[in-house]
Amino acid sequence: MIPAATLPHPPLVFGPLSPELVLVGAGLLVMLIDALRPGNTGRFLASLTFAGIVAAGIAAALLWNWHGPTLVLGGMIAADRYSVFFRLVILVVAAIAVVLSQHYLERSGEYRGEYYALLLFATAGMTLITASADLIMVFLALEILSLSLYLMTGFSFRRLASAEAAMKYFLLGAFSSAFFLFGLALAYGATGTTNLAGIATRLLFTLAPTQPRGVLLPSPALALVAAAFLGIGFAFKVSVVPFHMWTPDAYQGAPTPVTAFMSAGTKVAAFAAFLRVYTVAFGPLTNDWRPILVVLAALTMVVGSVLAIAQRDVKRMLAYSSVAHAGFILTAVAAGTAEGVRDAMFYLAVYAVTIVAAFGIVMLVSVRGERNLSLDDYRGLARRSPFLGGGLAVLLLSMAGIPPTSGFVAKVAVFSAAVRAGFWPLVLVAVLASVVAAFFYLRLIVVMYMREPEVAAAPAGETVLTRLAVGLPVAATVLLGVLPGVLFDVLAHPSVLPLGGFGFGL
């Protein structure tokens, strides 16, 4: 036996992990209460979940001015403002999703206590991935959020579409995880470390052997293959063409509040990790991965926008539009500059709030379960319910990128980042794709405002809470369109960039 004292362990600084600890703790509490009080109505657990998310939000906000070490727990967790920003966005999305879910589950009679536990675990996985500074942590967080979402997608298991969506999402997701894991192994093989900053350091030595002594590698070929495989894993999660196949089926089949949650949450979380891994670990290879991302971005925008036109189902249409939006965000990522990262962060925050509210309104129009989802069901919606119709119109205008909404500012920002990086042909494609995309957004607005309603009654069942859950994001969409500086000022600070990125001068 060796005495315990000879086993060194990294200093146990759990502060930067406090939001995740709160979320997982709340998830365990929800499971415990559900097991001990089987007859509960779900309202109590929903409130508890909401409280847990708010507490995690406070914990995350307090981390904004973290003065301790920047890399904690054996270099696994980065305590930077980059992660705090994304955590807050994800927690806002999760809070809205709880309100929507409570409404949906109560009315459809599908409530099970496990739902809120899964929601909390998924949120914990999403926030954890934004702070992961090691590929192994990125993988584990990715698996936690994916596994929870597979289960939530198939939550209405008596509905065949839900089960089918979960099956497709699970199979393709498992496939992408395998690619990610393969990439992780190759990255370790190429550089001898899974730490993001460590990978960058080793790559620098390889690329510039005049640097101070390090382990010299013959060529970065293996690291390039690793970057490609890790990129495939991320591309699946953020639904980049040609890895988007699961998106429309999963979004359409999942219960609508789950669709709202995952369309916003997964995209933000996976892009946060994508940006961090590519700009920090593979920062020295920026010139190599840029052209690949440019092609993927162009393909994603065009395919997403064109296929969305053909959809008659509103959830499916929004799913394809979310594919197109992944392309717009990728435009900023492909720029490979600090400015591009900032603009992608702005776009993600704006997009997350918009899409979660848009699916929220779709859910309210459905009234109960999965109904009224075709374009025809939206005829005259603005007349039947000015609140829902008007709100959805604002959100659609924002997604189309029409001023004075936040979507317009976000699009201008990502396009200018790409232009400044010299990718004007990509921006040309992006603008054309935006025009195509505007068609189907405006078509829905036309249907809502200029067609005669078939039934005169407004969709029933809105509560004050659900009105707030979709009303506040609509207000934010307009507000950020008029005063984008509020968010840009926050993002302008250099400390908001991922820790260790852009320090290579290449």
């Binding site: 990294p10 936690i144 070929a221 089926d249 109904r371």
Partner: protein, 217 residues
């Protein structure tokens, strides 16, 4: 030297068994071939100075996972034939071609990236196993990598919750999926604009004009 002898005995066995696993028509034979592969790999690990991996390989893979495999095979019916018909024309050739391409790419990348050594870089037992393989592994797992180790427990909780969710049904939940609702015979279309999903009994035809959800009209 004994390592080399062991390698040349074990490597052909594991490769032949791996081919046998893929090519066997009977699912139980496949599973048994897989066990042979697992065992020969386990012995190879032992020869390389990794007794921990040797034990894990046998207990976890050859033991637990294979029992699970066989259990599922028995549950589904031993003599069930898997349909080998191609559903997408030319898919098999494309898969073979792309697979070979990937193999060539990764091999080339490994060759260029770290080179392929023809002799050992040094004594593994000195370089990696500081004294004792299990102890060295524990040192890595519970010190530098203790956080991933802990986070894995959250992942396992989620998996457990999922199993409970799908296994435990309350009164009034009804049976599992109603197979009668599925469209007959044909495989579901993979993906196309306006792709159709199976008719959903709850939501179809509710709003008067609505047909099947998502069907192109």
């Amino acid at each position: 030297m004994p390592q080399l002898v062991l390698f040349w005995i074990l490597a052909p066995i594991s490769i032949v068994a791996a081919f046998g696993m893929v090519l066997a028509r009977n699912a139980v034979h496949s599973a048994l071939f897989l066990i042979v592969t697992f065992f020969s790999l386990a012995v190879a690990f032992l020869a390389l100075g990794s007794p921990f991996l040797f034990v894990v390989q046998i207990i976890v893979y050859a033991g637990a996972i294979m029992v699970l495999f066989l259990f599922v095979i028995m549950l589904l019916g031993v003599d069930r034939e898997e349909s080998m018909r191609e559903r997408i024309a030319g898919q098999r050739w494309m898969a073979l071609l792309l697979g070979l391409g990937l193999l060539a790419e990764v091999t080339a990348a490994v060759r260029l990236g770290i080179g392929i050594r023809t002799r050992a870089a040094g004594d593994f037992n000195v370089l990696v196993n500081h004294g004792d393989n299990v102890r060295a592994l524990a040192g890595v797992l519970f010190n530098g990598y203790f956080l991933p180790f802990e986070v894995t427990s959250v992942l396992l909780i989620v998996a457990a919750v999922g199993v409970i969710l799908h296994a435990r049904r309350r009164h009034g939940d009804g049976g599992p999926l109603d197979r009668a609702d599925a469209p007959p015979g044909e495989p579901l279309p993979l993906e196309e604009p306006g792709g159709s999903t199976p008719v959903d009994p709850e939501s179809a035809g509710v709003s008067g004009a609505a047909g099947p959800v998502g069907a192109a009209r």
